[in-house]
Subunit: 145 residues, 2 copies
Amino acid sequence: MMSLANNITQTIAATLKKHNLSVTESRKRILQLFLEEKGALAHGDIEKRAGEKFDRVTIYRTLQTFLEKGIIHSIPTADNAIRYALCKDQCSAGHHHDHHIHFICNNCQRTYCLDDVVTPEIKMPKGYQASHVEVVVEGVCKDCK
Amino acid sequence: MMSLANNITQTIAATLKKHNLSVTESRKRILQLFLEEKGALAHGDIEKRAGEKFDRVTIYRTLQTFLEKGIIHSIPTADNAIRYALCKDQCSAGHHHDHHIHFICNNCQRTYCLDDVVTPEIKMPKGYQASHVEVVVEGVCKDCK
DNA sequence: GTAACTGCAAAATATTTGCATCCTT
DNA sequence: AAGGATGCAAATATTTTGCAGTTAC
């Protein structure tokens, strides 16, 4: 019987292959961090959690690659620390379909993708043509309340 | 009869005084840039438009001060270049009431505050308590269409 | 006159690039 | 074997801090 650990390992490799990426140690490790975290991670978070194992530069390049391939998406925040989170399957390279909102907890600082909350329709003023709507909600998360 | 230029100069000085800030050259100049621009400015934009006149450090500090006093508010974007825009009068130090949405034009890259578009109500999942909602819309602005 | 603001220098931090080496396929 | 990925060194860019001189009030 396949162990859970093996299962995750397979998922990770499959995800990378699906996006035409070679399966390397750093990519596996960083992808695993995202799977473990569920929430969003900033570059700095990854550095801390990955230990001394990887070069900073590799993290930059890996995040960039994941972004381009649509494996992760970025969440802009007011503190100039971009966070990244896993995309759902329907995301594809260069074209994200993540119509969910993001939530940042002011207490624990974690960033969540609230997949069940769809971004609302926004009625734009005459002349403005919207192509993408990003909603970031701040407050207190369910764990901190 | 009072000239328009004088009028603007007075507005700038009045704004600074209202927030208990001394009226200095750099503050006047940076505030003027925001008034001229209408849209949002990133640190880099201010540096370019101010000419060689001010030290980078002064711009950092002035923006920080304006933020704290509620003269400007920040708009997070995906490219890690925070933009700032003037607050409406009802903003006060540390407590922003800017319930409008922001619009970034993918063509001219300008950032607008759409003061007439109120941020929608978001129905949060059980347990999450929202305190602030930030909406950033991307697309093509009225001038670029 | 005094407190606050600015410019300069320098430190600390963050990001990008080039290249030789190593790993995946 | 070949192309791509990584690590290291170094170049750039960004942001912060300390301090002495200057300015606003």
